[in-house]
Symmetry: D2
Subunit: 337 residues, 4 copies
């Protein structure tokens, strides 16, 4: 099979993750160029992974006829424009989430993907997690019967700075977006209504900046099932990532991963490992797997595992949640989209 | 210490539970009489536990000067009247939940308790559970820091008949009332607002009878914490009873109890015990403990561990939840009480 | 069914346990008399459980025509003589372990049981434990295929005094005797050879007294399976009681019981409960169950669940282990019996 | 830091594992050549990992002045000769286990390592496992107090062919050698005596070929602690790899790793993942880590983490175990070495 040539736009943390996945785990692909407006970041990433070219302008990737696919890892406001330009130049696109903060641009991106027939995968890596993915497979295989309840807990180990919280678009779109996607992934259908609670208990400066750091959002799914997500920006014991699906035949639920299975039993009690610290530790295998599946889909011309609909609905739910919080009432998805 | 003499009103399932607890586990108390409008049920219970007297009329207990305390285990609509009559006759009262389906009668019961100075304990046995009780103790001891999130899962193994569901007052007051009390017990304060979702996924006849069998209710606590309860009338794997308290310093969470800790590892996987089947198996020790503490409180003239405020607030929350479901909006507790 | 009348010889710890089981959990039996050479101990036990008679001389039980069955809970050297006298007087016998420290007396006891046709049950309560018993049932039901390996861990929370260790007959007969019986119970057959290691690491005075406090004994079973038992007189984290059976189709293994299933997750890690402290907490349900089954066997004239063969073989194995340790070589059971 | 150039002798399964580790996980090293007497295997491995040169003769590696270190992954009987030749040519050596089947050659290899001052690391990868390694660290940090008992369970998912068993040198040297090393690693000292039991329960043809497939070996350590290892060539539920260290202050014990933490609760029970299938899945991270530490030790001129003493003692214990089995008695290490 012909090697797939890749360009990476954005040399930040997630750009590094994907460069590492491709370099060390996906022999059938090769990164030819990385770009970043901070050109020294592009250079550092390129040197770290032996990528032959780097520059500041993402058009260097889009104009390169050798490059087959583009990974859009730049700041959110630039995602849609770059993805659209890349697809219009004939390239397949892997786009980080959220696709955009506006519904309009996401729909435009969707339209270009349909017109050009290019692959467009959205970076919801948690779908590829060994735990969450297994819960979903058990649900899809019918082991749980009809799905009736979905529960997701997602708590970060440490809060961001209040400045970050203020500029991030808020918890629902910055953090819970992953959980919105996971909820629909597990339920196997879209959400029709949300009710959002949110408050600032972790760092009052986050509240002063207009955001929440502790939140519970309930969901109604198209198939009649109910769901609930809880988020906190700070868990003293580490990154808490658990999902549960409950149906007429039973329940599938995952526990956190620790660094080991060892238990230390002493006069104080039985001590086990905390959850792995944060997403780079916890989800590294899922980042590799989403990239592997993206490259497979391009090379074999099959459907991408996470399409633009997921990118759209997750943002729609985040907006509905924010509206629900602001107006203190349940909000139907049809009010947003 | 002088033996405490007890009368039991109501020879149904819970009357039997308390008779058994006192007979076999609390040597310092003795049941002198049991009454039930179905006198043969009273007789059967009396014979089973060696109780010397039985009859149909609960006034036989209230008028018996030998009896120090009355356990009110009759149908809900009679709870308040019997409790009030007993206290006015100078007896201490242990009253099953819900105290009454009306706020007015609960407040009246509260008033009589205050006027007579009699002990009045409400039967929220789950507070005495080894798992839930430990979560609460860790919270009260400060091990979790400031409480920020409370999560409760409570699912019955099998649904009741649609007839029962229709006559029970509905899931929120019949089933979730335990969880409302547990939530406030764990948070250490009252709830100020609820938002209720509910649907009928387990047995559509329950829905046709005007009730729900699958529900999620979110809570806002006085201290600013958030909470969520999920209920189902049917869990294929048994009685699912888990609570979780999350705070600034960490989380305490209980798992279900199985009949053994044995794991069977075969080519099919690693198989563990299901949760214990239902409340008689799962909560028997808590029934004994609540009765022991009631008798201790009477004998030592100390405060009962679960007072009438708990009885009141649990019903208030159930009513607020029903109103929230009906009006499809969050409901403040101040709208009810 | 006619009530079974019982006499208890020995008002020590285990006599109390059985009195409690019968009084509170087995309505079809009643303790009529307890005796102890320390008559005040007999009196205290009798008063605690409402037993109508007590005295110093066990012949008061044996000569009482009202008494159907005798529980032999006196010091080990008196077990066999009392059991024999009781059976010869027509009474059924429940005898604590070890039956005797000599093979001869155990064989004599066996002979009297056969001659008189009286029930004779030996007090290996751990067979009735919810965890160990489940492992055995899975083995007997064929879920594990052919049994190939048996592993038993048994560690006490705190060491006995060196004086006790010296007078107890040593670890193999005082402590590991339970594990020898459990091993044969799980394997479903007798042992043919043992190899014993033992040392004094916990308290060197135990070693100076001629005993060991840390031991590993390997076993060869009649069916060709292999086994291993490890014992320690002190586990800092509590009473460690785990068994594992491994066969051609899989493994069944039990974990310790804690007082709750709650896990406390903090920055220090995830803390669970220690094993329950000691045998009164851990094995109380099994003491009740062995007594219930003894009384059932007497009342229904069925076979007792733990016969004298178990009493014999456990002592034989203990003697073989001691010989193995002394002679530093594997010892065949045929050298002992 | 200068890149470390590596030659791999032997293109079998373990040669592939190390080539993969270096290529994908250790940027500071590079494999320059792989050799195998089956040259097509060398070629296949080279092409798979982009290794520039391959050939049949390991002298091509030893004579290549560009190569700094040699990985000896050839059949056991050739290990010592190749390791010696490589060290004498000035190269550092990573040698798979067992170093040799004779004590003499291992001692000779040790002598050459000392004379040449070259690094010589032995391939006991399990020391680098996240679970076993953590147990050892807790022991070394003093969290367990004085070590008193070591327990190791090691069971393969499927038996080898009887032919393999016959030619492998037998279970003790082929399979239990890892556990002998692990035992001494956990105890922190050497073993002074072993007693071996072994039988053929899995496949009688293994017994007919003169080997055992089910074994228990007990150990006495220099520090007075006791130990036990159990092995089976077949576990229906997968690769069972558990270690436990017990001391005066407590116990550290690891559980198996499954592919996920998900539990499926249904009417049949609660089903968890089996242990990961076999050593490539279970121990891949440890293979990477041992190689990383070898390369670090060479580049920084520090001590290798697993020296020749471990290679020697593991073979000595295997020989002692075989002698113990044959002579049916405990065997002192001083009888072997």
């Amino acid at each position: 099979m012909k090697q797939l040539n890749i360009g990476i736009v954005g040399a930040g943390r997630i750009g590094n993750v994907h460069a590492q996945s491709i370099t060390y785990h996906i022999p059938q692909a090769k990164v030819l160029r990385v770009t970043d407006v901070k050109v020294e970041a592009a250079k550092a990433l390129a040197e770290k992974y032996g990528i032959p070219a780097w520059s500041a302008d993402y058009m260097d990737i889009i104009n390169d006829p050798e490059i087959d696919a583009v990974l859009v890892c730049s700041p959110t406001p630039t995602h849609a424009d770059i993805a659209i330009a890349a697809m219009q130049a004939g390239k397949h696109v892997f786009c980080e989430k959220p696709v955009d903060l506006t519904i309009e641009k996401i729909l435009k991106t969707q339209q270009v993907a349909e017109e050009t027939g290019r692959k467009l995968q959205i970076g919801f890596n948690r779908r590829f997690d060994h735990n969450h993915g297994k819960v979903q497979r058990l649900a899809r295989e019918g082991k749980l019967g009809n799905i009736e309840l979905i529960k997701i807990t997602s708590r970060d180990p440490e809060p961001p700075s209040p400045e970050y919280a203020a500029s991030s678009g808020g918890l629902y779109i910055d953090m819970m977006i992953h959980d919105f996607d996971m909820a629909m992934f597990l339920a196997g259908c879209d959400v029709t209504e949300v009710y959002a609670m949110g408050t600032s208990l972790v760092d009052k400066r986050i509240g002063e900046a207009g955001d929440v750091d502790t939140a519970i959002v309930t969901l109604t799914f198209e198939n009649g099932a109910l769901g609930v997500i809880d988020n906190s920006r700070r868990a003293a014991y580490g990154y808490d990532q658990r999902v549960e699906a409950f149906g007429s035949l039973g329940m599938a639920a995952g526990e956190n991963d620790g660094d080991s299975t060892v238990r230390l039993s002493t006069a104080e009690g039985v001590l086990s490992d905390k959850p792995q610290f944060f997403f780079l530790e916890r989800y590294m295998a899922s980042f590799i797997e989403e990239m592997r599946q993206f490259i497979d889909a391009v090379q074999n011309d099959t459907e991408v595992p996470v399409g633009i609909h997921a990118g759209l609905m997750s943002v729609v739910l985040a907006k509905a949640a924010k509206k629900s919080l602001d107006e203190h009432r349940p909000v139907k998805i049809s009010e947003i989209l």
